[in-house]
């Protein structure tokens, strides 16, 4: 871990600080899985800037996935889950407001899961799924969207001759990129990724990471990762969580080279967690 700072300086990431507007604003959010008896998230506040990659790191069970799933209200599906305090604003809108439809929210805030989970359908049908849900039927529109999404997900060359084949015939890394293609096909503003590379080998991981740096131009990305190297390679900002609290949040270079909190430093250098 010692040569990490060296490695960092050679990376081609967010060196020039472009001024960026805020897309997600998390304001003192508290979250509970058991009707509010115990809080899993204990008052998190942070902002996610537009067209950047923001990494959430921290030891297992600290609530990274929970926070991520709050952002597109996936936790609504758990009956005992409850937001205990605070608010989340995305594109300026409080996502828990009465007139917000979680379905519409999820069209704007897409999600890629840790375990790649393509549907047992063809590659084409997987990518077209979201658009078909929205009622798009025209073949030319779907064709165009499938091609565009697969190209953005760097999967087009590998998949273009087998669009009608089952998605399950793809390799793990290809399947994860397919899931990313499926997510970007509906043109969300934000893509949430929960450990997207944890089931992938180093080569597939490198491809997905490269892809994220590409996607940053069009999307705002929030990623949960357990790999310090990955966070430092691809993210512009890093948030360190511990036991449901946000310990430190700032530009990745600063968090990794000069963290202001001792816990962060210990975690990053591998002394705990």
């Amino acid at each position: 871990m010692h040569d990490m700072s060296n490695e960092l300086t050679t990376l081609p990431k967010a060196t020039k600080k472009k001024k960026s507007s805020t897309v997600i604003e998390v304001d003192d959010i508290g979250f509970s899985y058991d009707h509010g008896k115990t809080e899993t998230l204990k008052g998190i506040s942070m902002t996610v800037p537009k067209n950047q990659v923001t990494a959430l790191i921290g030891p297992s069970g600290c609530g990274k996935s929970t926070l991520l799933r709050c952002l597109n209200r996936m936790n609504d599906l758990i009956d005992t889950a409850k937001i205990t305090r605070g608010a989340i604003r995305i594109l300026g809108q409080d996502i828990h407001a009465a007139d917000v439809d979680a379905i519409e929210l999820r069209k704007q805030v897409g999600m890629v899961f840790q375990k790649y989970n393509p549907f047992p359908k063809s590659i084409y049908d997987n990518v077209a799924y979201g658009l078909r849900i929205q009622g798009v039927k025209k073949k030319s529109v779907l064709d165009e969207a499938v091609e565009r999404s697969l190209k953005s997900a760097a999967l087009w060359d590998e998949a273009k001759d087998r669009l009608k084949d089952s998605a399950l015939g793809l390799s793990g890394g290809q399947q994860q990129r397919l899931c990313i293609a499926r997510t970007i096909a509906v043109r969300p503003k934000v893509i949430l990724m929960d450990e997207p590379c944890s089931a992938l080998d180093p080569i597939a991981t490198a491809k997905v990471e490269e892809l994220m740096l590409e996607l940053r131009r069009d999307f705002t990305i929030v990623i949960v990762t357990h790999s310090m190297q990955q966070a430092s390679r691809i993210s512009d900002n890093t948030a360190f969580f511990y036991l449901g609290e946000l310990i430190e949040y700032g530009p990745t270079t600063q968090i990794f080279t000069n963290p202001s909190v001792k816990q962060t430093e210990d975690y990053i250098s591998g002394r705990f967690g």
């Binding site: 379905i103 999820r106 897409g110 999600m111 047992p120 849900i133 929205q134 997510t183 509906v186």
Partner: protein, 374 residues
């Protein structure tokens, strides 16, 4: 190291012996069941097959499958030659041979003709029963597995459904007889005196007088009887669909219903078809419920005639013949060798019908399964 020091040398022990004994017992039990099944099936086939064929061209006894049960007339002449003939042929024969001597004539019920009516009746009962049971059962299973939570009331409901599966069929039969035959609502012009109560709607009445002994009452009774099996099996197969599909679908902006329809139901289909097989095999063989609610012994015309002559409602409220009940009737006939071919043929045809239903569903399921793999 030398061979004599084999560290993996087998030890003869009591445990090993017990293991072998266990495997032997399980194997013996399995083969015993197989033996019984082959014996039963072989016996039925051996006795029943001859009824399917005849000695002259075209060798297949088509009449057996295309005509209704008939009376067989039996007699002998002065020389002691035995004669037997279906009722409808007898009159023609009598006209042609007006002087024939007929001694000791008697009639054997159901011992001539075929099983067309019961065959069609059973097929109709099973078909409509499964339509009713699957539409209610799948809806209930979707509700149980996708919409409702895991609360105490819900587990009570699940437990009740499971327990219903063990209720004897005669109980369902009596229930169906009470509800569908005698209390279900119908729209009529003139209220029957057996009606429980009736209101007038416009010029007609909605009368709770039941559907009588009918195809509809029988199908509904059978449907209620298999519902527990169908609901439980469908719920299991819905739950077996990986949660990742649901999450992925929701994350792409689907509503709950879209998710169920596009990301859950298609993948639960093999399981649902298995449930259908289970249901069909249970329903097709039931005798008690249809005896009380659907069949009558004096029914002789084919079900389709009512549809052509009197319309859809008459079709559903007519009584039907059914194979299991027909076999029951045949079995209770006075013992006569001339009645045997019909008995054996009907039994074998029934077995084939049930196996055919199951076979179609299994083929369907395997084809669906092959298409969907994860």
């Amino acid at each position: 190291m030398t061979a004599s020091e084999n560290p993996f040398k087998a030890k003869r022990s009591w445990t090993q012996f017990r293991g072998k004994l266990g495997v032997g017992t399980f194997g013996a039990a399995t083969y015993f069941i197989l033996f019984c099944a082959v014996l039963i099936f072989g016996q039925i086939a051996y006795k029943g097959l001859p009824t399917f064929f005849k000695s002259e061209a075209p060798y297949v006894n088509t009449e057996f499958f295309t005509s209704n049960p008939e009376i067989l007339r039996v007699w002998h002449d002065a020389e002691g030659n035995k004669f037997s003939m279906p009722d409808k042929d007898f009159d023609i024969w009598r006209e042609k041979n007006p002087d024939a001597v007929i001694l000791d004539p008697h009639a054997l019920n159901y011992s001539a003709g075929g099983i067309a009516g019961p065959l069609v009746g059973t097929a109709l009962l099973v078909f409509f029963c499964m339509i009713i049971a699957l539409s209610i059962g799948i809806s209930a299973a979707i509700y149980l597995s996708e919409y409702c939570g895991k609360g105490r009331i819900m587990s009570l409901i699940r437990l009740s459904i499971l327990n219903l599966a063990g209720v004897p069929s005669i109980v369902f039969a009596l229930f169906g007889w009470g509800i569908f035959c005698h209390a279900a609502p119908v729209i009529v012009d003139h209220v029957d005196e057996r009606s429980l109560f009736a209101f007038s709607i416009g010029s007609s009445y909605l009368s709770f007088q039941g559907w009588g002994t009918s195809l509809l009452a029988g199908s509904c009774t059978l449907a209620i009887m298999v519902l527990p099996v169908i609901i439980t099996a469908c719920e299991e197969s819905l739950r077996a669909v990986p949660g990742g599909f649901r999450e992925a679908s929701f994350a792409l902006g689907s509503s709950q219903w879209q998710t169920i329809r596009k990301a859950v139901l298609p993948y639960a289909l093999p399981g649902i078809l298995t449930a259908t097989v289970l249901g069909i095999t249970r329903v097709a063989g039931e005798t008690a419920p249809i005896m009380l609610t659907a069949t009558s012994t004096d029914k002789t015309d084919m079900p389709m005639q009512a549809l052509q002559n009197e319309g859809v409602w008459a079709f559903f409220t007519q009584s039907v013949q059914a194979l299991p009940f027909h076999i029951y009737t045949l079995a209770k006939l006075p013992d006569d060798p001339l009645s045997k071919p019909m008995q054996n043929g009907a039994t074998f045809a029934f077995l084939l019908l049930v196996m055919g239903f199951a076979f179609i569903s299994i083929v369907l399921r395997n084809r669906v399964r092959k298409k969907l793999k994860w």
